[in-house]
Amino acid sequence: MSIVRFENVGLRYGNGPEILKDLNLTLETGSFNFLTGASGAGKTSLMRMLFLALKPTRGMISLFGENTSGLRRGKVPDVRRRIGVVFQEFRLLDHLTTFENVALPLRVRGNKLNDYRDNVLELLDWVGLDHHINAYPAVLSGGEKQRAAIARAVISSPELLLADEPTGNVDPALALRLMRLFQQLNQFGTTVLIATHDTHLLDTIKAPVVRLEDGRTTWQ
């Protein structure tokens, strides 16, 4: 069963040329996939369409079996809550502690602190940030920030995890360890799509790769 389906999706910014053309892509539930392509190929644009931050100019995107083109604004958060997102630049909120950043998806759902405190602490323990729960992002290293961002993305057990260049700001050794986290998450049933242009990573981790070239996708 597919969790993501693109049918003839095209995207252009304003009146510019079409940067994504006739994309046809299907991700099966529970799969682990890479998305690769040269810089500027449109990986981030594709990811932004997946987490509903960008609308395609044509074609149809289906998430969790539902066509997103007719999705009302009020329903968008319901879909986003089933998706976890990790960015290359982490996008942690500087004025919140590690604990508060990781707890954010639960907090915006209206959950009480007492209901999620133990879960967040356990997850921070899992990613090795238990001793940094009260630290602000400014004092964390790149790897620690990325682990906090991953923890934030998975705290609510998303069905789909999207990671846009998650290893772009960490050294190769740490990149592999982060990949192990993603693989563990995948083993728990989360569908994972990681956008990267790190060929070493693609060679090391054996997983299906979607290549984005000239605005079109091909499976490798």
Binding site: R91, E100, L104, P105, E122, L129, I133, L185
Partner: protein
């Protein structure tokens, strides 16, 4: 569409992640663990509060001036409405004193008249002295006689009938009911009321524009934070609540400051009015007293400021969010 709310952390094995080899030492969350999601310092609340407080102060002044005018006009009109004047013209061949006696008798016999005061010739001369001087010119002038008549407001007399009776019995007497002055005063008070309403409307419009500007600035400064909140699954209502309460508080604080300053201004003016003469105080400047109506007028300003902040910010935030994402 179902929402998966189960926290995934429970499934994870600390050792399997390869990131934690400290043996599971326990660390506690410092503080309340729920800092403000939208940082407060980034929004221009102090600027907004200062400007809003100034406008609330102006609003209080406008309301106070309106109340003072209203009180003064009430005084004038009630004085005018409770008094009429009969004038006996000192024309050739008229026995002014005799006619004054006749008019006084008619007035005493008329129901609805509370009291009459026949102004003596000496008193009438005193009234004219400030304009004509004491050089003896008044001895050569025919001075009319005046009779001030106080009306019983509970059962006033039929003034048209009284006018007709005087015209028949004492042709030299004319009745002045001051109705024209009363109408002009009421008209002037109406104009001042509309002027105050126009001033208050302008102040409210300026406040709305300020809140819109401040809300947009706050949202723009926090665009990154808001985008992260959206990606975390936040609804518009969550983000709106996080921003809104601060604007609400700013409006309330500004209203209270403006109202207090306005109140102090009127207290100072009231203290300063001690130097004014009684007629000026009674007819032109009537200091605000500590009546419940006046207090209510001062309290209404912070309430309105809060409501304006709340409604404007809510609409503005909603529009900005729709335009942003």
């Amino acid at each position: 569409m179902a929402i998966n709310n189960n926290a995934g952390a429970k499934k994870f094995d600390r050792r399997a992640s390869g990131f934690n080899d400290r043996g599971g030492a326990k660390f506690e969350v410092a503080g309340n663990g729920r800092s403000k999601v939208i940082p407060e310092a980034t929004a221009p609340h102090m600027t907004l509060m200062t400007a809003m407080a100034a406008m609330c102060y102006l609003a209080v002044l406008a309301i106070g001036a309106l109340l003072m005018t209203d009180t003064a006009v009430d005084n004038w009109t009630s004085q005018i409405a409770s008094q009429v004047t009969v004038q006996i013209s000192a024309a050739d061949g008229v026995d002014v004193d005799g006619d004054a006696e006749k008019v006084a008798d008619i007035l005493r016999a008329t129901t609805g008249i509370a009291d009459i005061d026949v102004v003596s010739p000496a008193a009438a001369r005193k009234l004219l002295e400030p304009w004509l001087g004491e050089a003896g010119i008044l001895d050569d002038l025919p001075i009319p006689r005046l009779i001030n008549v106080s009306i019983d407001k509970a059962s006033p007399p039929d003034l048209e009938l009284l006018r007709a009776t005087l015209a028949t019995e004492v042709p030299s007497a004319t009745l002045d009911t001051h109705r024209r002055w009363q109408a002009e005063l009421i008209s002037m008070a109406g104009s001042l009321t509309w002027l105050a309403i126009a001033v208050l409307s302008l102040i409210a419009t300026a406040a709305i524009v300020l809140v819109i500007y401040a809300t947009r600035a706050a949202m723009e400064v926090n665009r990154e934070v808001i985008e992260v909140l959206y990606l975390a699954g936040a609804r518009d209502s969550f983000i709106s609540r996080e921003v809104l309460w601060r604007f609400c508080l700013t409006g309330l604080k500004a209203g209270l400051i403006g109202s207090m300053l306005g109140f102090c201004t009127f207290v100072v003016l009231g203290l300063g009015s001690g130097r004014l003469s009684e007629p000026v105080k009674a007819f032109l400047y009537h200091p605000l007293d500590a009546s419940s109506a006046n207090y209510a007028a001062f309290i209404v300003v912070p309430v309105v400021a809060t409501v304006i902040s709340l409604i404007t910010a809510r609409i503005s935030i909603s529009r900005v969010l729709k335009a942003m994402f």
